[in-house]
């Protein structure tokens, strides 16, 4: 546990000492601020549904940038050799990178909590969908970061890692559109692989165990595969 914490601190420092984290957070807040303000003025609705759906898309686009360097860079610079010849396990390394990346996302979501404060000051929002929306976003982010880490563990090239995870996310975003065209039982199989199909209920205030299990199993499977990819040398 102690070594995991040492690795986690190192990852947090690496993330927050590079400009990427700050640029991502600033870009996220700028776009979300614009979107929130516009939605509020147009619809006058005490809801964050639109915001959650936009954060969903923004995560698909930004997580690959956040995760591309995590393992690929360490492999390319051979610092992974320094880590893995020390008494630490591949699981500790992967989990430290995962938790550090999740901390940026959680920070983004905490900062976006300013919008809920605005809603609470000027109206009486329905808190159920807000909580479920944030919960869904954390689960979605866990799955995306897991897949991003896996992509980064498969190559030494950061750009290839980013393109791999971005392609996977875009495919899993729109896969339900094509799934409906397939014959039974493939239609439900493909539709259930869709990231958006499992996210929409969270955004609108419904929480299903199947959606929670989908994101959690995607995160765990990709983390397991990342550990295996790192151990395969």
């Amino acid at each position: 546990m102690r070594r995991f914490l040492v690795l986690l601190v190192k990852e947090e420092k690496a993330l927050f000492s590079s400009p990427i984290a700050y640029v991502l957070i600033a870009m996220f807040l700028l776009i979300m601020g614009y979107s929130f303000t516009l939605a509020l003025f147009i619809s006058h609705a005490m809801t964050l549904v639109h915001l959650f759906l936009q954060i969903f898309v923004l995560f698909l686009l930004t997580v690959p940038i956040m995760t591309m360097r995590l393992i690929a860079e360490e492999r390319k610079l051979r610092t992974m050799e320094v880590l893995l010849t020390s008494p630490v396990t591949e699981t500790q390394i992967v989990l430290a990178k995962f938790v550090a990346s999740m901390s940026i996302i959680v920070l983004m979501l905490i900062l976006s909590g300013a919008y809920t404060v605005v809603l609470a000051i000027y109206g009486d929002p329905d808190w159920g969908p807000i909580f479920s929306g944030y919960f869904g976003l954390v689960l979605l982010a866990a799955a995306l970061v897991g897949v991003g880490l896996l992509a980064s563990s498969l190559t030494n090239n950061q750009i290839i890692a980013a393109l791999l995870s971005l392609s996977a996310f875009l495919l899993l975003w729109i896969i339900d559109e094509y799934g409906y065209l397939l014959p039974d039982p493939f239609d439900s199989l493909v539709v259930n692989m869709s990231l958006s199909v499992h996210f929409k209920p969270f955004a609108t205030g419904s929480m299903y165990l199947s959606d929670v299990a989908f994101y959690l199993s995607a995160a765990m499977l990709s983390l397991f595969l990342s550990v295996r990819a790192l151990a395969w040398r």
């Binding site: 070594r3 040492v6 190192k10 051979r78 320094v82 010849t85 396990t89 040398r233």
Partner: protein
């Protein structure tokens, strides 16, 4: 006999279709300083990476300080201090921060980590650059930092992979002296393709070619004879006569650059402990002034060329 610090039996490593290490076996005893010599791509780094737990052997047995590399990899890594080639380090970290990080990874926490970092920084003269980001250090200092992290938990085995690669001559001398100094109390394995470097540091030399261990003691190969260097004043023919008459002498030649006064001679003899004594007596007995008589270390270059040529010629 005590357990060797390094025990390698029938080690084989395949990289996909390429055979990188072919059935290599050797052992290293406590306190030995062993050089692993071989051209680039001969499998030195692969063997080291297996010894440090970074790579997994395709087959064979590898143990360091009694820890099996396959089943006790974490325990093995506690016992090994590894300095990889070209010192891969975290450039964004400051020297002190990096050493603290590595100390904690190696299981040293709180006061013991601070103490270990302080001792290492002082020993390797890193104190003055403790606050400097590693990315801004010279290659010599980077190498010192890499050596420093390997020493933090006082491991039983130190492994240096091409420790002077890319350094300027002053830095090369400094790093060589450092390794020699460190070798005093520890078991050291060092890879290099620079013959004089290995010759100067190691007490035993292994030669590797195309993944195959050609000899686990190249210096012993020269043990079928010994070479002595003499410095004698007097007529050359008298010296030749006196030396040639000593039992066990095979040949004597004048060193070409030994000047016109006291001349230097290189004498090849059988491996007998009393030859030097008889030589001295023979020269002095004939009234020749002997001012130097030293044993010359075996010529590693000659052995290396002989060994590495042979398999290639056989293949041709």
């Amino acid at each position: 006999m005590s357990t060797p610090v390094v025990d390698v039996q029938n080690l084989v490593k395949w990289y996909g279709p390429r055979l990188a290490v072919r059935d290599v076996s050797f052992s290293v005893a406590q306190g030995e300083v062993v050089g692993l010599l071989g051209p680039n791509g001969s499998g030195k780094s692969t063997i080291f990476r297996i010894l440090t737990g970074y790579l997994v052997a395709t087959s064979g047995f590898v143990a360091v300080a009694g820890n099996d590399a396959t089943t006790q990899s974490l325990a093995l890594r506690h016992e090994v201090g590894y300095v990889p080639e070209d010192a891969p380090l975290y450039d964004h970290m400051r020297v002190n921060e990096f050493l603290q990080f590595m100390a904690q990874l190696k299981g040293l926490f709180a006061r013991s980590s601070t103490r270990a970092v302080g001792t290492v920084a002082e020993r390797l003269q890193l104190t003055e650059v403790a606050g400097v980001p590693i990315g801004k250090l010279s290659r010599g200092y980077r190498q010192r930092v890499a050596i420093g992290q390997a020493l933090l938990n006082d491991p039983k085995l130190l492994i240096f992979d091409e420790p002077t690669s890319g350094l300027d001559p002053n830095q090369v001398i400094a790093i060589r002296d450092l390794i020699r100094e460190l070798a005093g109390a520890r078991t050291v394995l060092m890879a290099s393709h620079v013959l004089p470097e290995v010759e100067q540091i190691a007490s035993r030399v292994m030669i590797l070619l195309e993944g195959k261990l050609l000899t686990s003691d190249a210096l012993a190969l020269a043990a079928d004879g010994q070479r002595l260097r003499l410095q004698v004043a007097g007529p050359e023919h008298l010296v030749h006569e006196a030396v040639a008459a000593v039992p066990g002498v095979r040949s004597v030649v004048v060193q070409p650059d030994s000047g016109v006064g006291d001349r230097q001679y290189l004498v090849e003899t059988d491996q007998r402990s009393d030859v030097a004594q008889h030589l001295a007596a023979a020269l002095v007995g004939r009234g020749l002034a002997l001012s130097e008589l030293v044993a010359v270390r075996p010529d590693l270059e000659r052995i290396f060329l002989q060994l590495t040529r042979r398999p290639r010629e056989e293949a041709a």
